[in-house]
Amino acid sequence: MLALFGIGCFFVVGLLVAVRLLELWWRTRQLPEFLVALALLGMGPLGACVFGAGYLLFRDTSLMSFFHATGLAIQGIGFSAAACFAWRVFRPNDKWAVVLTVVISLGLLGDGFGMFVLPVSPGEFVLRNHLSMNLKILALGWGALESLRYWRISSKRAAIGFADPLVSASFLMWGIALVSGTLALLSLYAAIVLIGPEAHMSPPSQLLTSCFGVVAAAAVYLSFLPPRAYRRRIEARASAAGG
């Protein structure tokens, strides 16, 4: 139950933001809005709903592995979308970023869809799970580094009037959200490697996941649905700094 609070916060915010960005994508037909929406839905509510449905409705039946594989495939799509967003937005002209995105996407989609052919039961943690976990950490960690790197440049430009302070703050918030996601995955991975496959169900691990979920939810919300009071605060701070 402990983990459910933080994860629930992230899912609700993820769903709200994803719906708004899909609505924006419907009007603009631009890739970045679609990628963020896909990432938030896949890594958050959509993937988890499929996992949850399999666990709650088809536990100990043959359909459970089908839902497990489908959930993993949806998550794979979500994490791949997050990597594609980092490439498309921050490194569109760098060949190494294309290669990194392709490696992450092929690895995660291969793992997700491969689960239909060569299933691994939910309680097991084999080499494939290690690879997939590392690729997920890489996808979020890379996105976090790119966003925070760009925030550093953008905040300096904002200080001399060549960038919008609110947009600059959004880079920071998206970076914080991705750092939280990376740390959540790292803590889960460390628990699984050091203690065992069921360690992620332990109270300390759940508490950590919950905390990271709350931070990620708040950061995603401020990044893509900045409330008026927050906008005013950022603008007031920028005006004060500008004299």
């Binding site: 924006l24 963020v36 921050f90 002209n93 300096k156 430009r157 060549f162 960038a163 880079f171």
Partner: protein, 102 residues
């Protein structure tokens, strides 16, 4: 390293509108970009236009270019009307700006 279309366009237009030669006009644009913390390979048309309006007049005046204000005004209008405007909105700033506006 390939320069951005906005940089190439602005440098070529500056060369056409002034007595500056190819290298001088490119160097001048590079310096004003640096002052505003932008890179010649990633600056987009909207950012270049703002830099041309806000920083370039001073830079041209410092190089003794006559009519720097009107040159910059013309250059800004040309940038806004260029074909490159259709590819605007692809920088990280423009993308995030679109994502957060309601």
């Amino acid at each position: 390293m390939a320069e951005s279309p906005a940089f190439e366009f602005a440098a070529a237009e500056l060369e056409r509108l002034t007595d500056l030669d190819h290298l001088e006009s490119r160097g001048t644009i590079r310096l004003v970009l640096k002052e505003a913390l932008f890179e010649s390979r990633s600056v987009d048309i909207a950012q270049m236009t703002k830099i041309v309006e806000d920083i370039l007049p001073r830079a041209l005046a410092a190089r003794g270019v006559d009519g720097h204000a009107s040159i910059c005004e013309k250059l800004a209008i040309t940038l806004k009307c260029s074909d490159l405007s259709s590819s605007a909105g692809q920088s990280p700033d423009a993308i995030f700006d679109r994502l957060i506006r309601r």
